[in-house]
Symmetry: C2
Subunit: 345 residues, 2 copies
DNA sequence: TTGTAAGCGTTATCAT
DNA sequence: ATGATAACGCTTACAA
């Protein structure tokens, strides 16, 4: 049969194969192959002939053929829970850039909120030389299985697991610092908006929240209010909180977009921020400094997170390192005015 | 030779092959293949045996082998100039989602500002069934060549070219509407910040800018001020403009991030927005409504742009349609208060 | 219903 | 320096 001429959904290409080049140059395919990869091993004159033939036919070696023969893909995959917002965007920016520099393309998979189907992930795994898995996109047992199948894996924004590497940003300490700051402002009814059960990032931020309360001899006024990561999610969560009888005097949001939603909710209810309600975010997205009021938040090195993930993955793929590595990148409190501080413009 | 056992940079996987499954089930590889793809063509009892063997060996058909045999990849590529910010993020969100729904993975390539190297693009083209090229990431001659090689292509945010499909958002009419609005506010020294030579989007917005002036019998006060698309780029451009003797009374930015930069610049110079300076953006990113002051901008259907690109590309790949299609999605002026309007919160 | 075998386009090992 | 040729892992005519 002839797959590339067969009917059906395939997109047959008009690309020349190594055989046609060989024929036109009057050499064997081995020689053509050699010219592509190790030009110096071929007599100058032969090389010349082959190159001309290749050029005339607009020949490009098929990646498929090459990958099959060599046993790898020169590409990696990254899986996200969601492709929404500045966080994702920055991480992938760093990741793609670093990957490109290493000559690897990147495949991207979004799981749209829920955990990825096993099928999707295994399928992706089969197209790449290694995988970075962010947050809780992939259940532990699957991470395990990937390991057994010999797929290099790095976990991003998720604590290390077994042999897999991991990269994440520090959460609990700054979260505690942030909450202590709010407590210093005299706020006593702080509410955490975000889902500690949904991501380790949120869990760790919540734990810092608790820790600060404990350190101040206080009990948290509320259990965490679960929420998605988009503005509308935050707005809804905040609305619920603010309409209750015992409303909070501060909202500690799990990211800046939730905080923006809280800002909107406050406005809708006629509450002044920060006077009636303090609001803080997380991530320090570009807009954070321009919000009304400017948002107190935590800066985390999102681009660098992606970059480091790419570097660690490469080391694994190239077997440059074999012991698992777990990196925690630093993070920084950015005080502006939504927390109640008077902030220089 | 044995590629998967050879030394070197390859990541050999411990995956079973179709041969091992066949052997264990006591059938031929053809039967194993059939069971995977067309289970109904196999006797129930044989099927059962094969499935058990496959399961025992944790067998998954290799995508590589399959792609090579079938002549396609079940994946597509998208190339962006830059992975920065909400625009990119929203487009890719729509694109990935629609692609996943059609069972295709997505490969992503960023060209980091400049035009992609021919090599990168051709390489990407060889890994996928089709390509979407955004903006000016790829020079015309390459688009041409891709066409000749039989690679389905859709252009995003770039006018149609030859046989390639295209999807973009309407620009000139809303730009004119926006500028007319500013002119109605009595602004007479409007500056456009963005690079008409850098993207067709910017070019079309600038053309709407001109058109509105013409319609009002006015001449534009400035030539366009070239700028990148990030906040810092916008800040710098605005600073230049605002420090000059004949400073503008309005800045029409090519996107919301540039507008944010202008806002910052104004603040740094002690100018009040909108009183001293009107500022408008483009895109209506989530933060736009929360800026100080809330940003007047243009909403464009970013997610939908990505989605449509995926749909058009699929039609081409599956040869469901052969005539080129060029879609222009609608766009909408969003008046808030940075233009000088008093806007309900 | 199942098996045989010829591809798909490379790479790399041997010979020569 | 070059050529034959056996992998790589699958799909699918065609035969049986």
């Amino acid at each position: 049969m002839k797959a590339l001429t067969a009917p059906g959904a395939g997109g047959r290409r008009s690309t020349a194969t190594i055989y046609e080049v060989a024929e036109r140059a009057g050499v064997s395919i081995a020689t053509v192959s050699r010219v592509q990869r190790h030009a110096h091993l071929v007599a100058p004159e032969t090389r010349e002939r082959v190159q001309r033939a290749a050029h005339d036919l607009a020949y490009r070696p098929s990646r498929l053929g090459r990958s099959l023969a060599r046993g790898h893909h020169d590409s990696t995959g990254i899986v996200f829970p969601d492709l929404t917002g500045p966080y994702f965007s920055a991480v992938i920016l760093g990741y793609e850039e670093a990957s490109a520099r290493q000559g690897r393309s990147v495949l991207i998979l979004a799981t749209h909120g829920r955990s990825a189907s096993e099928e999707q992930v295994l399928d992706l795994a089969d197209r790449v030389d290694g995988l970075v898995l962010t947050g809780r996109t992939v259940p532990d047992h699957l991470v395990e299985e990937l390991g057994q199948r010999g797929v290099p894996v790095v976990l991003l924004a998720r604590p290390g697991h077994g042999a897999a590497d991991s990269v994440r940003a520090s959460n609990a300490p700054v979260a505690a610092e942030l909450v202590a700051h709010l407590l210093d402002h005299g706020r006593r009814r702080l509410a955490f908006v975000g889902d500690p059960d949904g991501s380790s990032d949120a869990a760790e931020r919540w734990s810092g929240f608790l820790q600060a309360h404990r350190a101040a001899g206080l009990a948290p006024a509320y259990a965490p209010t679960p929420s998605g990561y988009r503005e509308e999610d935050g707005r809804r969560a905040a609305l619920g909180l603010l309409r209750a009888g015992d409303r909070p005097d501060g909202i500690v949001a799990a990211n800046d977009e939730i905080a923006m939603g809280a800002l909107r909710a406050a406005r809708e209810l006629g509450l002044a921020v920060p006077d009636d309600l303090a609001v803080t975010g997380w991530d320090d997205i570009p807009a954070a400094a321009h919000l009304a009021p400017p948002l107190t938040t935590v800066r985390q090195p999102m681009v660098e997170l992606g970059r480091r993930a790419a570097v660690l993955l490469t080391e694994r793929i190239e077997r440059t390192r074999t012991d698992p590595r777990h990196e925690v990148l630093p993070t920084e409190l950015v005080v502006r005015s939504s927390c109640g501080c008077v902030h220089p413009t």
